[in-house]
């Protein structure tokens, strides 16, 4: 047991150790800083702007951006800036929850597939099938069938990401399994669940953190696209997707109803992606060379 309780430098500790180094990486500082700013703006929306995102002003419809209405007003005279900040709360939450759900489910399934031949055979077929279906289409179909609410939207976005995580974790398990320290732990008779969690899972953490960051970005985008296409949250709730959808019919007359929310959304996703790239370069230099397809 002595051997087993002293695994190679635990990734948790390695993460802490790199924590100091993280601040020195320029991409991390840029991505993290920008993201922090945007997230704070959304979280503190009620303090940043005093205007109610839902208040309708019939006499101030489609106002061009000025100092009163920073991003202009929409077709009902609502303040687009206030709507974008408040909408960010929902959109960011959807992004975080979807990525967390996908990471959790994908990791569990990937670990199982990595150790059991039978599970592997079944799971990998399903994964191949899921990956052949364009994720947006799957999400749109699920949300439209089940009805739009937080749970259905988060799960619909997560389902499309699960196969990627599963493949990633399975791949790591298959390589790490052959490492001497895992063999040793196995030889010592450590039960499989403990072996997975204590000795194999830690090796997955660095790539998982990177992948999850990119999934948050993809999930925020997915929510926006769902809303834009008219199958997202109920229209009365301000989310980035819904705000953009409302701008569509009036875009020619009031481009700011799409341009500003769109750029705000783009900046957020960009910040998350830069953060993800920075984390990747930092946590796993081997990964830096390979490319992940994150739509």
């Amino acid at each position: 047991m002595a051997l087993a309780s002293a695994p190679p430098p635990s990734p948790a500790r390695r993460l802490l150790a790199t924590g100091a180094g993280l601040a020195r990486s320029r991409t991390l500082v840029i991505g993290g800083g920008l993201l922090l700013l945007l997230v704070l703006l959304s979280l503190c929306a009620s303090w940043v702007t005093a205007t109610d995102p839902l208040q309708i002003r019939p006499r101030a419809r489609l106002r061009a951006p000025d100092w009163t209405y920073l991003f202009g007003t929409d077709s009902l005279g609502r303040d687009v800036f206030s709507r974008v900040l408040h909408g960010g709360q929902v959109s960011l939450m959807v992004g975080l929850l979807s990525a967390a759900l996908a990471a959790a489910v994908g990791t569990a399934v990937g670990l199982l597939a990595g150790i059991s031949r039978l599970v592997d055979a079944v799971v990998m077929r399903v994964v191949d099938g899921l990956m052949a279906i364009p994720s947006l289409l799957l999400a749109v179909a699920i949300v439209s069938l089940v009805g739009p609410n937080l749970l259905s939207i988060v799960s619909a976005i997560a389902i499309a990401e699960v196969p990627r995580v599963t493949r990633l974790v399975r791949g790591v398990v298959l390589t790490v399994r052959e490492e001497p320290y895992v063999r040793a732990a196995e030889g010592l008779g450590i039960p499989t669940p403990l072996l997975l969690v204590r000795h194999i899972l830690p090796s997955c953490i660095a790539p998982l953190v990177v992948q999850t960051t990119h999934m948050i970005a993809a999930a925020i985008l997915a929510e926006a696209v769902l809303g834009f296409l008219g199958v997202g949250f109920p229209p009365e709730l301000p989310t980035w997707g819904n705000i953009l959808a409302e701008g569509r019919p009036v875009f020619q007359r009031a481009p700011w109803t799409i341009v500003f929310p769109g750029l705000f959304l783009g900046a957020t996703v960009l910040a998350v992606n830069i953060l993800g790239d920075g984390l990747r370069d930092r946590l796993d230099p081997r990964l830096a060379r390979t490319v992940k397809a994150t739509p």
Binding site: R125, D128, G129, L130, A132, L137, V146, L229, I258, P295
Partner: protein, 313 residues
């Protein structure tokens, strides 16, 4: 070689089967009677009963599943609720705009993103590299529809260079078609270019460290020739693979792009069907898109086997 190709085709069959299974169970996610969902909101009880009988929806699930697979295998993708037309005919009628659009986007990508990625790798860690990579991250991050609207704002509303809506077939009027296609194909290509530029860069970067590149240099090749004649062709395999994977991106992009530019292709059909809750069409489209994805990747696998003698599965 023939054996390898057969093996690849055999490997694609289960994928299609799994997709069909997923589509089958998808409809059962809905909290209600699948026959009602398939018949639509306006259906009479007779319509519902007819669908239930035809698809055997009153029978046990395994029987339903077998019936469904049988119908799919015979190419019977069902009938639209609204227009009563066979789903396959509806899809076929919308194929041309989508294929023309996707083709233009792929051509744009190969012409722009591959050279950009190769140059970024060549000038690794220089400002050129950083600019290309920054553009690539931005391309991933800004949603396609926002890019589409920005293009409309700049090139259609302000400069009045290109039309912002609609589609003209290149077989009817090539010039008008080209003008209509510029903005949509750029919109569709952005994400794809971001992806391909990245892959090209890392792939070329890998190859540049290889012995044969050093040999090519030692032989006295001009640097430019080393990059374009020796490094890039050998870096091609991962790039082509990712083009295959990227087809999924392209399909999602098609849905959004056609919606922004009002192009009557398969993507717009998808959105119209979803909004109208015409689920037989939605089912047919998911299967269709998955088949395209599997087909393209199969084709790419076969191309490898034929083109690259190093590949032996």
């Amino acid at each position: 070689m023939g054996y390898l190709i057969l093996k690849r085709i055999a490997a694609a069959v289960p994928v299609v089967l799994v997709v069909a299974t997923i589509v089958f169970f998808l409809l059962r996610l809905s909290p209600g009677d699948p026959a009602m969902v398939l018949a639509g909101d306006m259906a009479s009880p007779q319509d519902v009963a007819e669908i239930r009988a035809r698809l055997g929806l009153d029978r046990p699930l395994p029987v339903q599943y077998a019936t469904w697979l049988g119908e799919m295998a015979r190419g019977n993708f069902g009938v639209s609720i609204l227009s009563k037309q066979p789903v396959l005919d509806l899809i076929r009628a919308r194929l041309e705009p989508t294929f023309v659009l996707a083709f233009c986007a792929i051509v744009l990508t190969v012409l722009l993103a591959v050279p950009l990625g190769a140059i970024a790798a060549w000038y690794h860690n220089s400002w050129i590299d950083r600019v290309v990579m920054a553009m690539s991250v931005a391309g991933f991050s800004i949603p396609a529809f926002v890019i589409g609207y920005l293009l409309i704002l700049g090139f259609s509303m302000s400069l009045d260079l290109f039309p912002s809506q609609g589609y003209v077939s290149p077989f009817d009027d090539p010039l008008a078609a080209a003008r209509h296609l510029v903005l949509p194909s750029l919109t569709l290509a952005v994400v794809f270019m971001a992806l391909i530029a990245r892959v090209t860069r890392s792939s070329v970067l890998d190859v540049l460290g290889e012995d044969f590149v050093r040999t090519a240099r030692a032989k006295g090749n001009v640097e430019r020739r080393v990059l374009w004649r020796h490094a890039l062709p050998n870096a091609a395999i991962p790039i082509i693979t990712v083009i295959g994977v990227g087809v999924a991106l392209l399909i999602s992009g098609v849905v959004v792009t056609e919606s922004v530019f009002n192009i009557p292709g398969v993507g717009l059909l998808t959105i119209d069907a979803i909004l109208a809750r015409d689920y037989p069409i939605v089912q047919g489209l998911i299967l269709f898109f998955a088949l395209v994805f599997v087909g393209v990747n199969l084709l790419i696998d076969i191309i490898y086997v034929v083109v690259d003698p190093r590949i032996r599965y």
